[in-house]
Symmetry: C3
Amino acid sequence: MMSVFSQERLTALNAAYARCIDNDQLEQWPDFFSERCLYLITNADNHAAGMQAGMVYADTRAMLQDRVLAMRDANVYEEQRYRHIIGAPLVLEQDGNRAVVESPFLVVRIMRDGGTEVFATGRYLDQVVQLPDATLEFAERVVVCDSTNIDTLLVIPL
Amino acid sequence: MMSVFSQERLTALNAAYARCIDNDQLEQWPDFFSERCLYLITNADNHAAGMQAGMVYADTRAMLQDRVLAMRDANVYEEQRYRHIIGAPLVLEQDGNRAVVESPFLVVRIMRDGGTEVFATGRYLDQVVQLPDATLEFAERVVVCDSTNIDTLLVIPL
Amino acid sequence: MMSVFSQERLTALNAAYARCIDNDQLEQWPDFFSERCLYLITNADNHAAGMQAGMVYADTRAMLQDRVLAMRDANVYEEQRYRHIIGAPLVLEQDGNRAVVESPFLVVRIMRDGGTEVFATGRYLDQVVQLPDATLEFAERVVVCDSTNIDTLLVIPL
């Protein structure tokens, strides 16, 4: 039997999350989060300073759903695609059905004209919870970008 | 006992595949495929449109071997190297000794003069089969590049 | 029970190693190595030619500690950060409590002004040993960079 927060399960969670975004199935993306949650995109400097402010902030799944609707209105997938490469997750703390997990990531952006560039790097700082039906979801996903200089037109989720 | 298409086994398969190409052991590369197979490099737009055409197409292992010979004639490794970083594989379907698997990838190209750039990103869409001796091989590997703008001088396998 | 050099354990070792560097906990970095060890940064051409010379060479943990002190003096983390993405480790040989392992890597460098670029790619060629208390450490980590053209100002460990 696999343990609750085995590397294998967390790796599969991250892989499904990335696939959802990169394959343009954004309507499913909010389902990776708890109904009350924290999704925050920030940078390393602000995070180190303990600031909760970020470039993107949501604390309910409904806010994430609104965000997806806005992205659809803006037709962002006409303009660009992302490709996430997520490194191995490390469990930093674990307590029953809740764990603190860190995973490094790299996101490449592919523009409509074919241009390809490293768009963002950083680490996910997550609180992952296991539900009674054994699925895993994010109670928190704090996206700590390494650079302070992320494109302010940031529209697709990281 | 590991299951037939465990994350661990598929990860090891992808790692060995990437190592074979990146370490310039191309003569072993066709051995990752079934004798009758599909190896196709295409892009996301063509793939979404259901087109089987691609930048590279082979449907037998012998064609892949021919391709390696042509690369050797062209001395492509004198000019450039690749480095594959492959994300976690996800099993999408599974039926006995056959599975449909998707894995994201990033390939960096390193030119002889030292220049280094993200060359391609995308996902592998595979049909993996297990042989009676328990080895895994690709009955299909469709390489769906994110960009429509892949270098037409594409010579090293993705 | 996990085997001594399972993919899971080696992946966790690489993840902890990368996290230590990328999160600026360099003082812990030498602890990943045996007291007598080999840490070498070289390139593919020199490595293929059997040359032991490299851009960085250390053969004791104490030398690695000195290196960290020098980095602190130079305030390198004021200027730049790294983000390692490490691919799946492959065990090439294994004998009791010692294994030869290869892992591909990609390192992105993030400059203070926000500029982000692929800094280095290559593979780690490791001798990993298991200690009596079951922890793993590097008796050797040879960092074989793909490019001959790595920045000579190389200061943060790869």
